[in-house]
């Protein structure tokens, strides 16, 4: 098997996925986001002057994170589950495309879409920040770190959306993915709980606590809002984690999709 051709096919699938997402006007969330942020920025001006920056960063980054997750789930499910459901896939898979190439290509297309989406939202946040603070401060660089972590979070969410789409209906996939997003944000507490629980309950809790995506470590919004730095090692570890977890979910998706009978 010529690996070049595999890479080319994955690239074509990724690009096509991106194009579908853009044309599906799904990225219009950006408009809603921009409106929300500008509204908030104006409101903030009415409140105490000291915490303007705090509110903008907190609100802005939280909005980027939440909007992005919703988008990730929508296009992830919409573009993959729907494709499988509606038999668009028949003509794709009758070509020399391997099933795993399809999954991987979709993943890159989805994450690419989200990176672009995040870029524009981040721009909005920085604009709002400059608007309220009237200048850039050195601590703003940590906001970039927080945004990077949010992108890593999207990688994981996309991978999970793909994983569930490989065997479940569009609605259930969306629900499962969103549920894991919520639980994942509490994963640090889950691990703490698992540590103090003994016996079978403890074993089960531990298993769940480590399998659930570690979104709590990827959320540094509060500290960045206060201008605190993000440790370099955390950036390193989180990157490794996000890549590994995504790989796990994608390989799971591949394994399931390999043997799926398409209706």
């Amino acid at each position: 098997m010529n690996s070049n051709v595999t890479g080319a096919r994955i690239g074509y699938i990724a690009f096509n996925t991106f194009r579908e997402a853009v044309r599906d006007r799904v990225l219009y969330n950006l408009i809603a986001f921009a409106l929300l942020l500008s509204g908030a920025a104006i409101l903030v001006g009415e409140i105490s002057i000291d915490i303007e920056r705090l509110v903008v960063v907190n609100l802005g980054l939280t909005a980027v994170s939440l909007f992005g997750v919703v988008i990730a789930i929508f296009i992830g499910i919409g573009l993959v589950s729907k494709e499988i459901d509606k038999r668009t896939l028949y003509t794709v898979l009758s070509r020399p495309v391997r099933r795993w190439e399809f999954v991987v290509g979709k993943f890159f297309g989805l994450t690419g879409t989200l990176v672009v989406n995040t870029f524009f939202m981040a721009l909005g946040v920085f604009l709002a920040l400059v608007y309220v603070a009237h200048k850039f401060e050195p601590m703003d660089v940590w906001v970039l770190a927080a945004l990077y972590f949010i992108v890593l979070q999207f990688f994981i969410v996309c991978a999970l959306a793909l994983f569930f789409s490989s065997f479940s209906t569009p609605l259930m996939s969306a629900i499962f993915t969103f549920a894991l997003f919520v639980i994942g944000n509490l994963s640090e507490d889950l691990r703490g709980f698992a540590r103090v629980t003994s016996g079978l309950g403890g074993a089960v809790a531990t298993a769940i606590a480590y399998m659930v995506p570690n979104f709590s470590a990827l959320n540094v919004i509060s500290q960045v809002a206060h201008g605190d730095p993000v440790p370099g090692r955390l950036i390193l570890y989180n990157t490794a984690y996000a890549l590994l977890y995504s790989a796990m979910a994608i390989s799971g998706a591949v394994l399931i999709f390999q043997r799926r009978n398409l209706k």
Binding site: R99, W100, F193, S222, H226, N238, A240, S251, G252, L255
Partner: protein
């Protein structure tokens, strides 16, 4: 088994899955270790419980449980790190109880670990009092809260009158512990006695399921025993000296004089040491905590180690 392209992909995907699974678990460990040395981030930014309450969209119970778990984790972690810094314990417990005023274990935890001085606790008896009183206001028929109140007044503030009052009020509530009225009575005249303190710590031990609190109570009971033993032994030595005109050179002397039987040992089984100047010392001060007697001159009362000990039954 024929190696078809499909099988190859299945094998590769399985390998990737297993490797990335173990890799991600390792990464989580690394991240947790990294975070453990820094004060938990979310805890630092507790500004307004009202905001928190609104953000929780009504699921305040769950949020309270989460903060409770975090409080316990935080305390254990700070203890483990030997930092002596528990400044977040109070706000964490406050948030917990404001979100769920009926979370009784939080008040108990606060009474036992907010009041004592570092490195055992946060050294904030005032905060502990405020927390307990808040708890009483929201749970007026819980005798345990009055017990906690009395406990704080007794152990950290030495205000026996208020302690007595608290125990009395608690003794009038339904389901109250049998010791409460006795404790209330003893506060008046026998506040400083060993038996009173012993009763108090025993009640603490008996009335909680929290392993940490029980552990703490046990250590205190053992220390009381040691203090009592040594006080009595030193009195015996004075009697001996009055009788013979000189200090005993060994326990055998005292035994032959009929004052004691056998070689006295501490509750952990180590024999006491008779010092040439008539004092008694414990064999190894590091092995018994909280004692105020039996230490070499100028020594600090030893504190428990950082690793949680198994619960002594």
């Amino acid at each position: 088994m024929k190696m078809t392209p499909t099988r190859r992909v299945t094998l590769a995907a399985t390998a990737v899955f297993l490797l990335s699974l173990s890799g991600s678990v390792t990464a989580i460990h690394a991240i947790d270790r990294l975070q453990a040395n820094s004060v938990p981030q979310q805890a630092l930014y507790l500004r307004s419980t009202k905001v928190l309450r609104r953000l929780s969209l009504g699921y305040t119970g769950l949020l309270a449980d989460i903060y409770w778990t975090r409080a316990v984790q935080y305390f254990g972690q700070q203890h483990h790190n030997d930092s002596g810094d528990f400044r977040l314990l109070s706000p964490l417990l406050e948030v917990t109880t404001e979100l769920d005023p009926q979370l009784l274990p939080a008040y108990q935890f606060g009474a036992n670990f907010l009041a004592p001085k570092p490195p055992n606790g946060a050294g904030l008896p005032g905060a502990a009092l405020a927390l307990t009183q808040y708890g009483i206001a929201h749970n007026p028929d819980q005798w345990r809260l009055y017990y906690n109140l009395g406990f704080i007044y007794y152990t950290e503030l030495n205000d026996y009158a208020k302690a007595a009052d608290a125990f009395k009020r608690g003794s009038e509530l339904p389901g109250t512990n049998d010791f409460m009225p006795i404790l209330a009575a003893r506060m008046a005249q026998h506040a400083g006695e060993f038996d009173t303190a012993r009763m108090l710590w025993f009640t603490t031990y008996q009335s909680t399921k929290d392993a940490r609190i029980r552990q703490n109570a046990v250590e205190h009971l053992l220390a009381l025993q040691v203090d009592e033993d040594i006080t009595r032994l030193e009195q015996v030595i004075q009697k001996y000296r009055a009788q013979t005109g000189h200090l005993p050179s060994s326990f055998g002397d005292i035994e032959r004089a009929g004052f004691i039987r056998g070689t006295p040992a501490d509750p952990k089984g180590h024999a006491y040491r008779l010092m040439p100047d008539g004092r008694i010392e414990v064999e190894d001060p590091q092995k018994i905590y909280f004692i105020t007697k039996g230490l070499p001159p100028g020594a600090e009362p030893p504190q428990p180690p950082h690793e949680p000990q198994p619960d002594l039954k």
